[in-house]
Symmetry: C2
Subunit: 157 residues, 2 copies
């Protein structure tokens, strides 16, 4: 798995917030977001807290509270979100997990992986939340987990 689940949820949530923000300046409700993305509310809350402490989101308690992007969504890249949650490891670490692997004393796949991860970095560094969120509606993209991936506890009875 390239990204942790927490990280993928963080990306989906960031795109959700960017998308909502283009329609209204209100804070985005975490409860509503968790239902629409089918992500566990409490788990999502923690991930959003990481994004908040990383300076990507701001939050507000109370009625009409929620989260919002702290900066211009055009200035926030997917790499920013990945780094906030999973750290820089994906873009810096040896594929084989060998500490100290680098140009001086590389591992058997260093050259190959170095190229691929640079490509990964630049590709996702170039995708900002504004454009990416806009493409969701324009191209009718998938960006939520399937319903039922998380169990709904407020059942009839």
């Amino acid at each position: 798995m390239v990204l942790s689940k927490a990280c993928t949820y963080g990306i989906l949530a960031s795109l959700y917030v960017a998308r909502e923000s283009s329609r209204s300046k209100d804070y985005v409700s975490i409860g509503k977001m968790s239902k629409e993305l089918n992500i566990s509310f409490h788990f999502l809350t923690k991930i959003l807290q990481q994004l908040t402490s990383a300076g990507i989101l701001v939050s507000m308690k109370g009625p009409k509270g929620g989260v919002a992007l702290k900066r211009d969504p055009k200035e926030i890249s997917l790499v920013d979100v990945v780094v906030a949650i999973d750290g820089m490891g994906l873009f810096t670490d040896c594929l084989l997990g060998l500490p100290g692997c680098g140009e001086e004393k590389p591992c058997p796949v260093h050259g190959e992986w170095d190229g691929i991860r640079a490509n990964l970095f630049h590709t996702f560094r170039g995708k900002n939340l504004e454009e990416t969120a806009k493409s969701i509606d324009e191209l009718n993209l998938r960006f939520a987990l399937p319903a039922g991936a998380e169990v709904d506890r407020e059942d009839s009875g």
Copy 2:
């Protein structure tokens, strides 16, 4: 983490076996390999069993026993080893973990990730154990964990 630790150990072990095989036709001792690669013996044993049941290695018990490559090391690619341990997921799954993501209904990063993972696949599909193992000695590459990464229990006393 792109590859599981089990998978990275499996790659290092496969390269170790390929390297030893180029010098002698004897079975490669798992105990010796675990010491030289600094990988926990029992854990390594399990990983090697996966490679054996995947048809990449053969094993032999008893004195002079150990493991050996089942096929010509030129015919075994790093992708074969990755797939034997981590499965095909890395080369097929959606980066955001969205089930059903594909050309018909893609996720917001489908196109980008599709290109990168194809590159990843073809790059490592093109690296076979023979050439890769040979490069270890020719270029003096790093391919073992640092000593002490695993604790040695046969201490003085």
